[in-house]
Amino acid sequence: MKKYAYFLLAALVVLAMPLTMQSGSLASEVLIFALAAMGCNLLLGFTGLLSFGQGIFFALGSYTAALMLTRWPVPMPLALLLATAMGALGAAVVGWVAIRQRGTYFVMLTLAFSQMFYFIAYTATGLTGGDNGLMDIPRPNLSVLGVELWALASPWQLYGFIAAIFLLVFWLLLKVSRSTFGRTLLAVRDNEERAAAIGYNLKLLKLQAFVISGAVTGLAGALHAMMTGLAPLSNAEYHTSEMILVMTVIGGTGNLLASLLGSAFYLLLADWLSQLWPRWLLLLGLALMAVSLWMQRGLWGLGDSILQKLQGRRAPAATVDAKGEQA
C-alpha cells in the first residue's frame, strides 16, 4: 500500500483540481510545470545538481512540438514524442559538457548554455520565429487511425489529456527514483568522493539523470505549446529555468510529489497575487527567502514535520527507517 501512496496522492490532486478550480488552463499549467519541476528535482533533489539548463529543454520541447504541428503535420502523439526526444538530446549535450566540472563551475556551465541557447533561438528566426516566437499552433484532437479518441478543444478536455500524461510520467519517474539507478543517485548526492571510490562512474550516472530530466522537461514544453498555441522566445529565457528551479525548491527537493506541490503553490499564488498587486513578484521573493532560511525541505518538508509531530503525540517512537527512505 505504501508503495502506491504517492501515486494515489498525485491522482487525488489531479482529480481535485477540476472540482475546486475555475480555470482549466491554470490547472493544466500546474501539471505542465509540475512535470518540469519533477525533471528538475531528479537533478537537484536526487543527484545534487543545480542546473540552469532546464529552460533550454523546455523551450526545445515547445519549439519542436510547434514545428511538428505547424509545418510538418505529423500526428500529435508523435509530435509530443519527438519533443520529448529533443529535450533528452539537448540535455545529453548540455550534461555531457557541464558534468566535467563540479560545484560552482558546473552551475556556470549550465548558465552559459542557457544564455547561448537564448541567442541562438533569437537569431534562428527561420526555425523559432525569433522575437515573435511561433504562433497559431493547432491543437488537434487525439485520434488513432482516423478514429477520434479524445477531443481537446475546451480547456478542461485538454486538462484531462494532460492529466493522463502527467500521471503516466509521475508513475514512471516514481519507478526511476526507486530503482537501483535512483538509489545510486542519492549516493552521488550525499558524497561524490565515496561514490566514485566504491566503483561508480559518476559521469555516466549524472548523464543518464540529465537525459531523463531533459526528456520530461521537453515533454512539458511541448504540452505548454499545445495549451497556449504559442512557442514564445520567453520560454528560452533564463527566467524559465529560474522559475522551474524556484518551484522545485519551494515544493521540496528529493520528493516527486513535492514538485507538484511547488508548481501548484507558485502558479496559484502568482495568479492570486497578480490580481492584487502588479509588483507581486516581490512577495514571491519573500516566500523564497522564507523557504531558504527556515524550511529547506520546502513545503513538503513542512507538511512532513507537522504530520510527524501530530503522529508523535500518539506514537512517540517514530522509526528512523522512514526518514532515510526517499520517494
Binding site: T180, F181, A196, A197, I198, G199, Y200, V320
Partner: protein, 258 residues
C-alpha cells in the same frame, strides 16, 4: 610462510608532484597476498598520497602500478574497484543521510556498476545483496544499527562502517587509511581485532599512527619519510632499525605511546 606469498600489488618508482613540490619521489612497494602491510611515517611523509596513487583516487605523475598481474597505472578509482581494490578514508566518508544497510548495499553493488544504471528495477530480491550486506554488518558489529542513517552513528561506529564499506566490495586488497583516527580507547581493541581478522580473506594495506596496533598485527612495515621509503621489514626489524629510530619512531616504539 607469508614471506613467500605471491605479490598482489606492486608500485614501481611511483612519483607524484604538485607543481614543483614532489609529494612522492619514486616509491617502490611490494605487497604480498594475504598479509597486513602497514605504511608508517611522520605527518607529511606521503602516506596518504601513496594511497591515492595505489587506489587510483588521484593520477600518478610517474612510475607504474601493477595489481594482480595487471597494469592499472592509468585506471581511475572506480575501475580498480572492479579488479578487487577497495579503500576506506582517513576522514570518514559515508552517505550520511542513507541507512547503514543502504550504505553497504551501495558499496557491494559498486562491483557491478552497470546495475546502478538500471532505472526500472528496485534493489530487492537478489539485487538487495542481502548476504554480503548481512555478513559485513556482522563483521563490523553494526547489525543493530542497520536501519539508522549513517549520520546518526557515533564516531566509533562510523569508523567501523568506513571499514565495512571497503569490505562490502569483497575486495582482494583492502586499503585502510588510519582506521582508528579519533577513536576512543574502548573502540581501539575492536578495530585491531577486526583488521587482524581480515588477513584470512583479504590483503590489507594499512596506514596507521597507533604503533601498538601496527607492531602487533603487521606482517610487513614500510617506513616513509619525505616522500620516499626509508626502511622496510618485519615489525621487530623496524623496531630495531637505527635509521628509523633516528628519523622518527624512537621512543614511540620502545614504549612511549600505547
Amino acid at each position: 610462510m607469508t614471506a613467500h606469498a605471491p605479490i598482489l600489488l606492486e608500485a614501481i618508482d611511483v612519483e607524484k608532484c604538485y607543481g614543483k613540490f614532489a609529494a612522492l619521489g619514486g616509491v617502490n612497494l611490494r605487497v604480498r597476498a594475504n598479509t597486513v602491510h602497514s605504511v608508517i611515517g611522520p605527518n607529511g611523509a606521503g602516506k596518504t598520497t601513496l594511497f591515492h596513487m595505489l587506489t587510483g583516487t588521484k593520477a600518478v605523475s610517474g612510475g607504474r602500478i601493477v595489481f594482480d598481474g595487471q597494469e592499472v597505472t592509468h585506471e581511475p578509482d572506480y575501475r580498480r574497484v572492479r579488479r578487487g581494490m577497495a579503500r576506506s578514508f582517513q576522514v570518514t566518508s559515508l552517505f550520511l543521510s542513507l541507512p547503514v544497510r543502504e550504505n553497504l548495499r551501495l558499496a557491494a553493488q559498486g562491483v557491478t556498476p552497470r546495475q546502478a544504471l538500471n532505472p526500472w528495477h528496485e534493489p530487492v530480491g537478489p539485487r538487495a545483496l542481502s548476504q554480503v550486506v548481512d555478513s559485513v554488518l556482522a563483521k563490523v558489529g553494526l547489525e543493530r544499527m542497520a536501519g539508522t542513517p549513517a549520520g546518526n552513528l557515533s564516531h566509533g561506529q562510523q569508523r567501523r562502517l568506513e571499514v565495512g564499506m571497503a569490505l562490502a566490495a569483497r575486495p582482494k586488497a583492502i586499503f585502510l587509511d588510519e582506521p582508528t583516527s579519533g577513536m576512543g580507547i574502548d573502540d581501539l581493541e575492536d578495530m585491531k581485532q577486526l583488521i587482524k581478522g581480515l588477513r584470512d580473506q583479504h590483503t590489507v594495506v594499512l596506514i596507521e599512527h597507533n604503533m601498538n596496533i601496527v607492531m602487533d598485527i603487521s606482517d610487513t612495515v614500510t617506513v616513509m619519510q619525505l616522500g620516499r621509503v626509508l626502511a622496510e621489514g618485519k615489525p621487530n626489524e623496524i623496531r630495531g632499525d637505527d635509521r628509523v629510530r633516528a628519523a622518527y619512531l624512537g621512543n614511540m616504539i620502545t614504549g612511549g605511546k600505547g
